[in-house]
C-alpha cells in the first residue's frame, strides 16, 4: 500500500479527512508540476489538461476541507504528509516530453485507478464505521473521476501516430 505507517484500524474521522485532504493536495501539486514541465517544453495542450486536473483536485480538497471544518473546527491535525505517498498523484515519471493530450489523459486515468485501488485495499482494515463510510465515498468518487477523464478522452481526435522516440535525438558520442 503506498502509505507509510497509517494505522488504518484506529483511524479517527478527523484524521481520515485530513489524510484525504493531503491526498488531494499531493495530486494537485504533482499536476501543477507536470503542467509547468509541459510549459517548459512547449507542450501547451498537455499543460492545459494537467492544469484542469490540478483544478479538479483543488476543488475536491476544498470540499473536504469544508467538511472537516464543519465537523472539527480548527482542531490541529495529528496526521502529516509523511504518511502518504503517490496515492492519487501520478508517478514522477508519468510525464514525458511532448506528451499528446491523449498521453496526458492516460497518465491521469492511471492515477485515478491507483487511488481507487488504495481505498479498496484500505477498507477491510478499517474499524470505525464513519471512516469506513468516508472511504467508501472516496472510493466511489475515484470511479467518477475516472469517468470524467474518459469523457475527455472520448472527445479527442485520433493521435498523430508519432511516438516518444520521434522527439528524442539519436545519442551522439561527445
Amino acid at each position: 500500500m503506498p502509505s507509510k505507517g497509517i494505522d488504518f484500524a484506529n483511524l479517527s474521522l478527523m484524521d481520515a479527512l485530513d489524510l484525504a485532504i493531503l491526498v488531494e493536495d499531493e495530486a494537485l501539486v504533482r499536476y501543477e508540476d507536470f503542467a509547468a514541465q509541459m510549459d517548459q517544453h512547449r507542450t501547451p495542450d498537455a499543460a492545459k489538461f494537467f492544469r484542469y486536473m490540478a483544478e479538479n483536485e483543488a476543488k475536491h480538497g476544498e470540499q473536504l476541507a469544508v467538511r472537516r471544518a464543519e465537523l472539527f473546527g480548527s482542531a490541529p491535525p495529528t496526521v502529516s504528509r509523511a504518511l502518504i505517498f503517490d496515492i492519487e498523484a501520478p508517478d514522477f515519471d508519468a510525464a514525458r516530453a511532448f506528451m499528446s493530450p491523449r498521453q496526458a489523459m492516460q497518465a491521469a486515468l492511471a492515477s485515478e485507478v491507483k487511488a481507487h485501488a488504495f481505498f479498496v485495499a484500505a477498507l477491510p482494515v478499517l474499524k470505525n464505521a464513519e471512516v469506513k463510510a468516508l472511504f467508501e465515498e472516496l472510493r466511489d468518487e475515484e470511479i467518477l473521476h475516472q469517468d470524467l477523464v474518459k469523457v475527455e478522452l472520448a472527445k479527442l481526435p485520433p493521435d498523430s501516430g508519432l511516438s516518444d522516440d520521434d522527439f528524442v535525438d539519436e545519442p551522439a558520442a561527445q
Binding site: 507509510k4 508540476d33 507536470f34 509547468a36 514541465q37 509541459m38 510549459d39 517548459q40 517544453h41 507542450t43 504528509r81 509523511a82 504518511l83 502518504i84 505517498f85 503517490d86 508517478d91 514522477f92 515519471d93 508519468a94 510525464a95 514525458r96 516530453a97 506528451m99 528524442v168 535525438d169 539519436e170 545519442p171 551522439a172 558520442a173 561527445q174
Partner: protein, 291 residues
C-alpha cells in the same frame, strides 16, 4: 545559527523552472531535498549547495540555498573548500554517476578519509544524461549506448561498496519510488556528523533503460528496515551492498555508531590552539622567508 523560525519545503524552492525532461527522476530528488531541508530547518542562506556538471548537477539552481554549479567532477573538492572556509554552513554536494564516479571518482577517497562534514547526493541514472546517453561508470555490463554500440564490456562500479570500503560513516540509498523515505534518508544524512553519502536511483526517462524506470525499480526494491538490517553493522552493509544493480535496497546501509571527528572540526580546534601565536595577515609571507 538562526534556526528559530519554521521553514516549509516551498521555502527552499527557487523561482528557476527546471529544464529537465518531463518525468526525469531528478524532479523527485529536488522535492526530497526541499522536504529534508524543511525538516532540518536551517534558513536557506546558511546552506551551500555545490554540484559538478550534468543534468543532475543543475539541482542547486532549483533551491534557494547558495548554489555553485562548478565543473565536471569537481563538486567534492569545492564543497570541501567551502566547508573549511566557513564550517558553520550546511554544505551539500550533488551530481550524477558520471560526475561522481568517473571524472570525479578520485576525490571521494580523500573526502571520506578526512571525514569532511558534508552530505553527498548522487543521482545515479547509469548513464551520461546531459551529453545524450553515453556509457557511465554505473552502466550495467552489456548495456548498449552510443559509446558501446555492441554492448558494454566493462563491469560497473558499485558506489555503495566504494563508499563503505573507503570508510564513509553514513551510506544510504533512496529512490523516487518512495519520496517520503527519500526525504527522511536525506535528512538523516545531513544530521550525521561527518561525511555522508546518499545514492539515489533517479531514472533518466530519455536515455535510461526500461528496467531502470520507476516501474522496474519498484519491482526490485527492498527496504533495509523490513529486511531487519542493523545499520551499525558495516560488514553486513557490505554484504548487502554487493547486490547493487540486481536489487535495490532502500534505506541506511551503514551509520557509524561512534562517528569519528570531522576534519573541519579538527581544523577549528587547531586554529583555536595556534591562533594566539599566529602572525598578522600582512606578515604571513614571513613564514616562507629564511631568516
Amino acid at each position: 545559527m538562526s534556526a528559530t523560525c519554521e521553514f516549509q519545503a516551498k521555502d527552499y524552492k527557487s523561482d528557476l523552472k527546471p529544464i529537465w525532461c518531463p518525468g526525469c527522476g531528478d524532479f523527485s530528488v529536488v522535492q526530497g531535498i526541499y522536504r529534508a531541508l524543511a525538516a532540518i530547518g536551517r534558513p536557506p542562506h546558511e546552506i551551500a549547495f555545490v554540484s559538478g556538471i550534468g543534468c543532475s548537477s543543475r539541482i542547486p539552481g532549483y533551491t534557494t540555498a547558495y548554489g555553485f554549479n562548478t565543473i565536471h567532477g569537481r563538486a567534492l573538492p569545492i564543497a570541501q573548500g567551502i566547508k573549511l572556509a566557513n564550517p558553520d554552513l550546511l554544505v551539500l554536494a550533488a551530481g550524477g554517476d558520471g560526475d561522481g564516479f568517473s571524472i570525479g571518482g578520485g576525490h571521494i577517497a580523500h573526502l571520506v578519509r578526512r571525514n569532511i562534514d558534508i552530505t553527498y547526493i548522487v543521482m545515479d541514472n547509469q548513464i551520461y544524461g546531459l551529453t545524450k546517453g553515453q556509457l557511465s561508470p554505473t552502466s550495467q555490463k552489456g548495456r548498449v549506448t552510443c559509446t558501446s554500440r555492441f554492448g558494454s564490456l566493462e563491469q560497473p562500479v558499485n558506489p555503495l561498496l566504494y563508499m563503505l570500503a573507503y570508510g564513509a560513516g553514513f551510506v544510504a540509498q533512496a529512490s523516487p519510488t518512495d519520496l517520503v523515505g527519500m526525504a527522511a534518508i536525506i535528512e538523516e544524512a545531513i544530521r550525521f556528523p561527518g561525511f555522508s553519502f546518499v545514492n539515489i536511483q533517479s531514472p533518466c526517462v530519455t536515455y535510461g533503460e526500461e528496467a531502470q524506470q520507476i516501474k522496474g525499480l519498484k519491482a526490485i526494491s527492498e527496504s533495509l528496515v523490513a529486511l531487519g538490517h542493523n545499520p551499525a553493522d558495516r560488514l553486513a552493509a557490505m554484504d548487502l551492498a554487493q547486490h547493487y544493480g540486481e536489487k535495490m535496497h532502500l534505506g541506511v546501509f551503514y551509520r557509524n555508531p561512534e562517528p569519528a571527528p570531522t576534519y573541519d572540526g579538527l581544523v577549528r580546534e587547531r586554529q583555536a590552539l595556534l591562533s594566539k601565536d599566529a602572525l598578522p595577515k600582512e606578515r604571513i609571507l614571513d613564514l616562507f622567508i629564511k631568516k
